[in-house]
């Protein structure tokens, strides 16, 4: 670097400003690189999730169609087939719904209407183990709020969310018909009764 002490004041200022701008640009450039990195990571995370979710039999349009044909003649056909897909993949992918519409001979919006109507179906990826907390009046007065708070704290998420490791999803549910043991939660459809803030940990440990 030139000996600034010998240069005149205005060009010293200019040089300092120039250096400051150059450093700033370096920082911005580094930040942009970091942002690119983060975006690339989340895209590949999503892709990994999709791939993980699509492991097994139902990972292609043709396999979806095969499954739907199995259910075509059965009562509640499309609904039963959606249950089967969810049991495998965890949620109803757009691919699945379009394939269902094709096989069951209904407009695509009908497949989506069914998927979006029933509380058991999800059109978004969610955690592998679905925890449902009953919030109907009998469980509510038995202390469901404390259970909700304990679960949110234990899992580090709010109701409606999925844990970052994809292991648990937390959802509200209405009465699951186990009212002799209020408050009740279910995990993957299996009921757990007389749940308290203290017993939440040991229930989660089973999964």
């Amino acid at each position: 670097m030139a000996d600034l002490k010998q240069a005149d004041p205005s060009s010293v200022e200019a040089a300092r400003a120039g250096n400051w701008i150059r450093d700033l640009l370096k920082e911005v450039s580094a930040l942009l690189e970091r942002t690119k990195e983060l975006l690339a990571n989340s895209v590949s995370m999503f892709q990994r999730q999709e791939t993980k979710a699509n492991d097994g039999e139902v990972n292609q349009m043709s396999n979806y169609e095969g499954l739907f044909h199995e259910y075509k003649g059965l009562p509640g056909g499309i609904i039963q087939s959606f249950h089967a897909i969810q049991n495998g993949v965890g949620y109803l992918t757009e691919e699945a719904m379009l394939a269902a519409a094709k096989v069951f001979g209904v407009p695509a919006k009908d497949a989506y209407e069914v998927a979006s109507f029933y509380s058991y179906f999800s059109t978004k990826p969610r955690g592998k183990n679905i925890i449902r907390i009953c919030e109907s009046a009998p469980c509510h007065v038995a202390g469901a709020n404390e259970v909700i708070a304990a679960l949110e704290q234990e899992l580090g998420i709010r109701v409606g969310e999925t844990t970052s490791d994809g292991k648990f999803a937390l959802e509200f549910a209405e009465c699951v018909g186990q009212c002799q043991d209020t408050p009740v939660i279910t995990v993957n459809g299996k009921p757990f009764g007389k749940v308290s803030a203290g017993s939440v940990g040991e229930i989660l440990a089973q999964f």
Partner: protein, 407 residues
């Protein structure tokens, strides 16, 4: 001291639900044999005369329903068991299906013979998938034993929608669509599943049929309240010592249910209110506890027998909070098809929320009254028509703006 009378629950806890031989040893499938030896009109008359009325909540005479279906024209008829037990606080049908699934299947086969239906479906809610497994095993055993004759039964799973307890919404669901109710008339006995004559009956109603056929209509009609004979299976929840299920004759009073069978209020606290019939039931005060657990007797005091859930609240409960939670249930479960329900349940829930945080005013109560009355007339199905009941009865019998212990 009132006693239980276990007709519906006759085998529950006494036989292994997954061993059809035990059901047969207990006399199972003899009623179906007897039914099949009678002319259909005679069988239907017998069931009509027994006075058996639907145990799902609507209370329609079962024999009359069978007669409509029998008389309707159709090349194929169906029997549907409504096992979509979604009413909060209710698990009686689960107890019946888990404890004595063959009783339900036999009841369906009796209906099938009566109306000329050879196919039956048990619509089982998704929350009871473990019950569906029991039903499927029981059906397979019955088929293997050959006791069902030409009657074929299948299980069809729901997917989490309270509205599918409504018979036409249930039918829509079996047909693979959104569970949105249909316009009635035509009623299912005339045009139901895939447009064919269909009997839709509750689990408990069906489990009553084998004993009625076996012991006769006179026996059954002599039990309990004359206009609504027989028994009801009740599930007790909330602030009650014994959170159990019982089966009692229909001339038992609500007071007897809570204090004799239920053991009263725990912790020595005072009674505030009880909601009979599930989330859509009326909240009634102590003064009305003398009402019998029969359909008309409850209706006469502005209450509901409904699903037989008995949800007790002690003096410490803030009714504003409980009513708000009940209102949010209906907002959640409204199918969205008709505007008065879709919008009405939302508005009621929002106003109840406002009341529950102490910001309610008399004008809010007046508005709730207006919305409720509108919904009772304008809503397309029973969900919307009954949804305002908890909040309207809370306003009628209690000081809803008052707060904790506001009896």
């Amino acid at each position: 001291m009132p006693q239980e009378l276990r007709i519906v629950l006759r085998n529950v806890g006494k036989i292994d639900a997954l061993k059809i031989d035990e059901y047969l040893d207990a006399g199972g499938y003899k009623p179906l044999e007897k039914a099949r030896s009678m002319p259909q009109e005679d069988l239907i008359r017998e069931i009509k005369q027994s006075g058996l009325r639907g145990r799902g909540g609507a209370g329609f005479n079962t024999g009359q329903k069978l007669e409509f279906t029998f008389r309707a024209a159709g090349d194929q008829k169906y029997v549907i068991c409504n096992a979509d037990e979604g009413e909060p606080g209710t698990y009686k049908d689960r107890v019946i299906m888990q404890g004595d699934p063959q009783a339900v299947i036999e009841g369906m086969a009796i209906c099938g013979y009566a109306v000329g239906a050879t196919r039956g479906y048990i619509y089982c809610r998704a929350e009871y998938s473990y019950v569906a497994d029991i039903l499927k095993a029981a059906i397979a055993q019955a088929k293997e034993k050959g006791v069902l004759g030409d009657f074929e039964v299948e299980v069809c799973l729901g997917a989490g929608a309270y509205v599918c307890g409504e018979e036409t919404a249930l039918i829509e669901s079996i047909e693979g669509r959104r569970g949105e109710p249909r316009c009635k008339p035509p009623y299912p006995p005339v045009s139901g599943l895939w447009g064919k004559p269909t009997v839709v009956a509750n689990v408990e109603t069906l489990a009553n049929l084998p004993p009625i056929v076996e012991k006769g209509s006179e026996w059954f009609s002599g039990i309990g309240a004359p206009a609504y004979p027989g028994t009801r299976v009740l599930t007790l929840t909330g602030d009650v010592v014994n959170r159990i299920f019982i089966e009692a004759p229909t001339d038992t009073t609500v007071r007897e249910v809570i204090y004799d069978f239920g053991g009263g209020i725990p912790g020595g606290k005072k009674f505030q209110s009880v909601q009979v019939g599930g989330n859509s039931g009326a909240l009634i005060p102590e003064s009305l506890l003398g009402a019998k657990i029969a359909f008309d007797a409850m209706a006469a005091v502005g209450a509901t027998l409904g699903s037989g859930a008995v949800f007790v609240l002690d003096e410490t409960r803030d009714l504003r909070d409980v009513v708000c939670r009940m209102a949010r249930f209906f907002e959640q479960e409204s199918c969205g098809k008709c505007t008065p329900c879709r919008e009405g349940t939302m508005r009621i829930a929002d106003i109840c929320e406002k009341v529950s945080v102490g910001k309610g005013r008399a004008a809010d109560l007046a508005l709730l009254q207006e919305i409720g009355e509108m919904m009772a007339i304008a809503c397309f199905c029973g969900l919307g028509q009954a949804a305002p009941t908890p909040v309207l009865t809370a306003i009628r019998h209690f000081d809803l703006l008052g707060g904790k212990g506001c009896a």
